[in-house]
């Protein structure tokens, strides 16, 4: 048993270079702490079970005092990607771009080309649904058009984990989690974009593969 513990401890030390920062919060040097840093992604059936909900959270670990002044970056597009043919290449995208206090949402629509570069996939305002970005401390503002609902603004970070204790384990300072644990993300906020669409718009049946991207205007 002692050997096993030593082996485990050494194994954990070996990966101490893997700085585990929960979910996707501040996951990589180029984006961490910036306005394009995705903290989390959710996809789940809506209250109306004919609908699917997509959630992208950005700019994690906002204290209440920092949240009032937090904004979406007008140069950063948030893009939900949907593959409904099983090849892990997006067949549809939902694009969200903030401008002048509003979030403009386009799609689901086929991208002009898949991959790392995106352009706007709409021809006119008729292809766009927009909503006032909800300000800190006010009721959630929601816009609905053609069965699609959108929200953008600060929310409580829905992620929960004892990240502090995980860090202690990885650092070799602890042999396991505490019980009860302590939620490192308690009392912190994120900037959220929530889009609910009819399932019929994204394939209707079967399984989709989905992921979210942040993309900066060049």
């Amino acid at each position: 048993m002692k050997n096993f513990k030593q082996t485990l401890g050494i194994s954990l030390l070996l990966v101490a270079g893997l700085v585990f920062v929960a979910a996707d919060h501040i996951d990589a040097p180029a984006v961490q702490g910036g306005t394009s840093d995705i903290t989390d992604f959710y996809a789940f059936q809506g209250e109306n079970t004919d609908n699917m909900v997509f959630v992208a959270n950005l700019q994690g670990l906002l204290s209440p005092s920092a949240t009032a002044s937090a904004t979406f970056d007008e140069n950063v597009m948030i893009e939900f990607n949907i593959d409904n043919t099983g090849d892990n290449i997006e067949d549809l995208v939902i694009q969200a771009i903030p401008r002048n206090g509003k979030m403009y949402v386009i799609g689901p629509v086929a991208p002009s080309s898949p991959g790392l570069a995106s352009v706007i996939n709409a021809n006119s305002i008729n292809d766009v649904i927009f909503v006032d970005v909800t300000t800190y401390g006010s009721e959630a503002k929601v816009a609905t058009k053609n069965g699609t609902s959108v929200f953008a603004g600060p929310r409580d970070d829905p992620f929960f984990m004892d990240f502090a204790q995980y860090s202690e384990i990885i650092a070799g300072n602890a042999s396991g989690f505490n019980n009860p644990g302590s939620d490192t993300f308690a009392g912190t906020n994120v900037m959220s974009v929530v889009v609910e669409v009819p399932k019929a718009m994204i394939g209707g049946t079967g399984t989709i593969n989905t992921w979210v991207e942040s993309k900066r205007k060049q």
């Binding site: 990589a28 989905t210 060049q218």
Partner: protein, 186 residues
């Protein structure tokens, strides 16, 4: 009289169009190329499918590269790194050990290296609820404990019990039953 007509015309226009300024009358291209101009080329900086994948399985020097590799290319580029890091992190896969999905280290990291969320359009959407597995990700899903169990818990979730549950089981605020579902900020 003429000015009255102009003013009332303007008021009528205001009622119909919310403004006399033609700048605010939507025209083709509005919201895309003007009022506002959203056009341009947007280049990828971050991406995410399943929770914690980049942070746990990608080595420090490759994290930015992982974020800018399209999912269809991720497995070929990163599966072997994932497997090496998984074996270094957890003793549960040593000597042919499996996880509760019956996967060895190669199979498990083969799944994770393509960082997309698999979501069912037919019924329950959850990361894992005791019955359904990887059919989505709901707000209340305890995804970290699920991942810890799959990393450390072995064939029946019983191995390394002090490492396979962080004992934080729910969010610090209740979620909403209706759109936008996430709780109001602190």
């Amino acid at each position: 009289m003429k000015s009255i007509k102009l003013i009332s015309g303007c008021l009528l226009s205001a009622l119909l169009l919310f403004s006399c300024s033609t700048n605010n009358v939507p025209t083709n291209g509005d919201g895309i190329y003007n009022n506002p101009n959203l056009s341009g080329t947007y280049m990828q900086e971050d991406q995410m499918g399943r929770p914690a994948v980049n942070t746990v399985f990608v080595s420090s020097s490759s994290k930015d590269g992982f974020n800018t590799t399209v999912p269809s290319n991720q497995s070929a580029a990163f599966q072997s790194m994932f497997e090496t890091n998984l074996l270094a992190l957890s003793p549960a896969y040593a000597n042919g050990g499996l996880n509760a999905l019956g996967q060895d280290a190669a199979a498990f990291t083969g799944l994770l290296a393509t960082d997309v969320l698999n979501v069912s359009l037919e019924g329950t959407t959850t990361f894992f609820d005791g019955t359904n597995i990887l059919t989505g990700r709901a707000l209340a899903d305890d995804v970290i404990t699920v991942e810890l169990l799959l990393i450390f818990g072995g064939e029946d979730f019983s191995e390394n019990p002090t490492l396979s549950n962080d004992n934080v089981n729910e969010n610090d605020k209740p979620f909403l039953a209706s759109f936008p579902y996430l709780a109001s900020p602190w």
